[in-house]
């Protein structure tokens, strides 16, 4: 995949409150994903939840480093944040990363509610993905989730 050199940039963090950290860890544990993957889930969950990315203050103690994101993840971050501001330049990577961090923080707040619900989180999460897939109306066969 061709990615411009300057698509790299400053570190990406997700600075969570101490009380939110355990949920982030729970998300990682339940889904068996890395920090950066959990960051992406939180960010897209926030995007799906209609959250607006704003500027974020960094403490410098977050977990996700840009280097650990795949090119596809980085593209995803750009796509998520560009959509909110047609005026934002595609070149403004730093702005995009910051906006995405904001989305991820908001997404984590929403995910916390989901994680706290009784029952199996993984199943609810998979059901949500499936629901979204159906909503996208892609030309593929139908599937179900086995409980």
């Amino acid at each position: 995949m061709n990615v411009p050199e300057n698509l790299h940039g400053p570190l990406v963090f997700i600075d969570l409150e101490q009380s939110q950290r355990e949920y982030f860890e729970a998300l990682r544990k339940f889904l068996g994903v890395s920090n950066s993957q959990a960051f992406m889930i939180a960010a897209t969950w926030g995007y799906l939840g209609g959250q607006t990315p704003g500027d974020v203050q960094r403490s410098g103690k977050g977990w996700a480093r840009l280097e650990t994101f795949t090119p596809a993840n980085r593209l995803e971050m750009l796509a998520l944040t560009l959509g909110y501001s047609s005026g934002r330049s595609v070149e403004d990577f730093e702005g995009c990363w910051r906006a995405c961090e904001g989305l991820a923080k908001e997404g984590m707040t929403l995910l916390r509610d989901e994680l706290e619900k009784p029952g199996k989180f993984q199943q609810r999460f998979a059901a949500r993905v499936l629901e979204e897939l159906r909503r996208l109306e892609l030309p593929t066969s139908d599937v179900t989730i086995e409980s």
């Binding site: 339940f30 994903v33 897209t44 596809a72 959509g83 999460f125 998979a126």
Partner: protein, 655 residues
């Protein structure tokens, strides 16, 4: 002989029972119907115990409850209890008799019981009253000998054992018993001794050395013969003990599970464990995959918007089709010129300058052109998620289905094995196999010993013949010689008579057995393939098949039971003993077709003798009921009260 009434006091399930059986004139078949544990077998046991002092049909005397009725569950057991069983009998000559047997049981103090069974009391009706017989056991043995009892009072389910092991011995013993040749046997032995003594006298009186040597040789051959016969008898005795042990083990094995089930249980537990781990692993992998792809699904719209932005940039001619920075970068990395040739230094410099200028002139277009292939790939990834999802969830569903099946089988096996100790079951199987092997080995030892004995008998015969010839040649005292000749002549007659009776009885039993067997089987498919039954000189029973002289070894358990039943019916017919048939679970292992015909064969015996059938409700099926109703019946229900631990016998009335 008929049993008119059975009176039972304090014997096993029966606290007080007085059972009036149908009168001879009625020709009725008595049918007792009761589920497991209601006391069918113990009714049979009560009869054999009263007559012979033993309960032949107990699975294990050691593990049994005390002989007396244990009373209501909430009442304490007594320290001592008396049991009485009384049978009123009618003999074929019109004589009436009462046989009574009592037992006293006392608690041993260690939870066990000590039962002292008294001798029977036999009272025979005379014009003066009911005087007691001086020799009650002899009276019983004369009218219902213990050794022929198994052919009249028996458990249908155990008939199958008769033709499983040592059948030759049983058949020979049974035929000889009913031929009543025991007196002839004794006479034969006596004459043989007399002959030997006479020969000794002749030899002693004679001065002829050759006769003396022949007599000594005969004595040696006879000693060998005796030795071999004793060995054979000892082997047969061992076989009998082994067979009893085998039957006990087989009985226990019937209620025990197959030891292989324990292996299967372990294998299933391992499979289940493995499947559970595999399912967990696949589920975790699935959820992890869902986590990884979810951002592309959730952010799909954003990606589409980005692609739309790229498309618009292209439309606005912001992305030079052939001069896109990506294209230029590719040429540079591959060292290829736009014209297709190799890139020289000068061309490389020019391309690098061009790339820098494009990026400086329109940085956004440059980034967008980089992003397009990645965005298209991300979109394709989402489009393929459903297919991959289906594959992964199907795999998990398949594993779960497999897990369900394994679990189901495991539950079934565990339910069977719950009440059994593995070690106990394996020990039982090992003992069973060992005894079975020993039985086979001893059967072959017996066959060899029989052959040796036959050969030795020939040697004895030859020696005897030689002696006889010499006796005629040598001169001796006339009186001694005459006695010798007389004994020899007598012995010949007795031996001929013995052999004749033996052969005649065997042939009659074989003929009757064949008739019953074919009658029993002619309704089932396999019945048409058997053409006869024979008993050869060695008392081997052979079932003749349309295509084989001997198909006995391949008979099914049900067919073996029919064969054994036919044997019992034949012995009953040929014996001349007018004894009742009392059969417990007569149709035990037989299927419905065979049951119908078997019940017909048994019930038709009611013309000649008393017939008492102890049946399970399942045996008394509609078909059997229809068949039996062709005969006059007296039906009794055995009703067991579990609180009172007592069985009541209720006569339905002649139907």
């Amino acid at each position: 002989l008929r049993i008119d009434t059975i009176e039972i006091d304090n014997y096993r399930q029966y606290r007080h029972a007085r059972i009036q059986l149908p009168a001879r004139q009625s020709g009725q078949v008595a049918v007792f119907i009761g589920s497991n544990g209601t006391g069918k077998t113990n009714l049979l046991n009560a009869i054999t115990w009263c007559l012979h002092g033993r309960e032949f049909h107990l699975t294990s005397e050691e593990d049994a409850l005390p002989i007396f009725n244990i009373g209501p569950l909430d009442a304490p057991l007594p320290d001592t209890a008396e049991t009485v069983v009384k049978l009123r009998l009618s003999l074929s000559d019109g004589v009436q008799a009462v046989v009574t047997r009592k037992a006293v049981t006392v608690a041993r103090g260690d939870g066990g019981w000590l039962t002292s069974t008294e001798d029977p009391v036999v009272q025979v009706r005379t014009p003066e009253g009911w005087p007691e017989q001086d020799q009650p056991t002899f009276w019983i043995q004369s009218n219902m000998p213990d050794d022929i009892r198994p052919f009249f009072l028996f458990d249908g389910e155990r008939l199958d054992d008769l033709f499983r092991h040592t059948e030759t011995l049983d058949v020979r013993a049974a035929v000889l018993r009913i031929a009543q040749v025991d007196l002839l046997e004794r006479l034969q032995e006596h004459l043989q001794t007399m002959k030997d003594e006479a020969l000794k006298e002749v030899a002693a009186a004679s001065k002829h050395d050759q006769l003396k040597r022949a007599e000594a040789e005969l004595a040696t051959e006879k000693a060998r013969h005796l030795q071999q016969r004793e060995r054979l008898e000892s082997l047969r005795e061992q076989q009998k003990v082994l067979r009893e042990e085998y039957n006990r083990l087989a009985e226990r094995r019937q209620s025990a599970p197959d030891p292989e089930k324990f292996d299967r249980q372990k294998a299933l537990e391992d499979d289940l464990d493995q499947l559970t781990k595999e399912i967990y692993k696949e589920e975790q992998a699935f959820y992890s995959w869902v986590g990884q792809v979810s951002p592309f699904v959730f952010g799909f719209r954003a990606m589409e918007e980005l692609l739309a932005r790229i498309a618009k940039a292209e439309e606005d001619k912001m992305l030079p089709p052939k001069m896109q920075p990506g294209y230029l970068k590719q040429l540079l990395s591959e060292g290829v010129c736009i014209c297709g040739g190799s890139l020289d230094e000068g061309q490389r410099d020019r391309l690098e300058q061009m790339l820098r200028r494009i990026e400086e002139a329109n940085p956004e277009a440059s980034v967008l052109s980089y992003l397009e292939p990645t965005a298209l790939q991300a979109k394709a990834l989402v489009a393929n998620i459903k297919k991959e999802w289906e594959e992964k969830t199907n795999l998990i569903a398949d594993l779960r289905a497999k897990e369900g099946k394994v679990n189901e089988e495991l539950q079934e096996i565990s339910a069977i094995l719950r009440r059994h100790e593995e070690k106990e079951v394996r020990d039982l199987q090992r003992d069973h196999d060992r005894v079975n092997q020993e039985l086979q080995s001893i059967a072959s030892d017996i066959a060899l010993a029989e052959r040796d004995l036959t050969e030795q008998a020939k040697l004895v015969e030859e020696s005897e013949e030689a002696c006889s010839v010499l006796v005629r040649i040598v001169g001796c005292h006339d009186g001694t010689r005459t006695r010798f000749d007389f004994v020899v002549a007598c012995l010949k007659v007795v031996t001929r008579t013995y052999q004749g009776l033996d052969r005649e009885t065997r042939e009659r039993v074989a003929a009757a057995m064949e008739s019953y067997f074919l009658q029993l089987l002619n309704v089932i498919k396999s019945g048409t393939t058997y053409t006869g039954v024979t008993i050869d000189d060695h008392y081997r029973v052979r079932v003749v098949h349309a295509k084989s002289r001997n198909a006995t070894g391949t008979l099914s358990a049900g067919e073996r039971e029919c064969l054994a039943l036919a044997f019992s019916l034949a012995l009953g017919e040929v014996s001349g003993f007018d004894l009742p048939f009392v059969i417990d679970t007569p149709l035990g292992r037989l299927d419905e077709n065979v049951s119908e015909h078997t019940s017909l064969a048994i019930a038709s015996q009611a013309e000649h003798r008393q017939v008492v059938l102890l049946m399970q409700p399942a045996e008394y099926s509609e078909a059997v009921k229809r068949t039996l109703h062709e005969f006059p019946l007296a039906i009794y229900d055995l009703k067991f009260d579990s609180d009172e631990q007592e069985t009541k016998v209720v006569l339905r009335g002649a139907e």
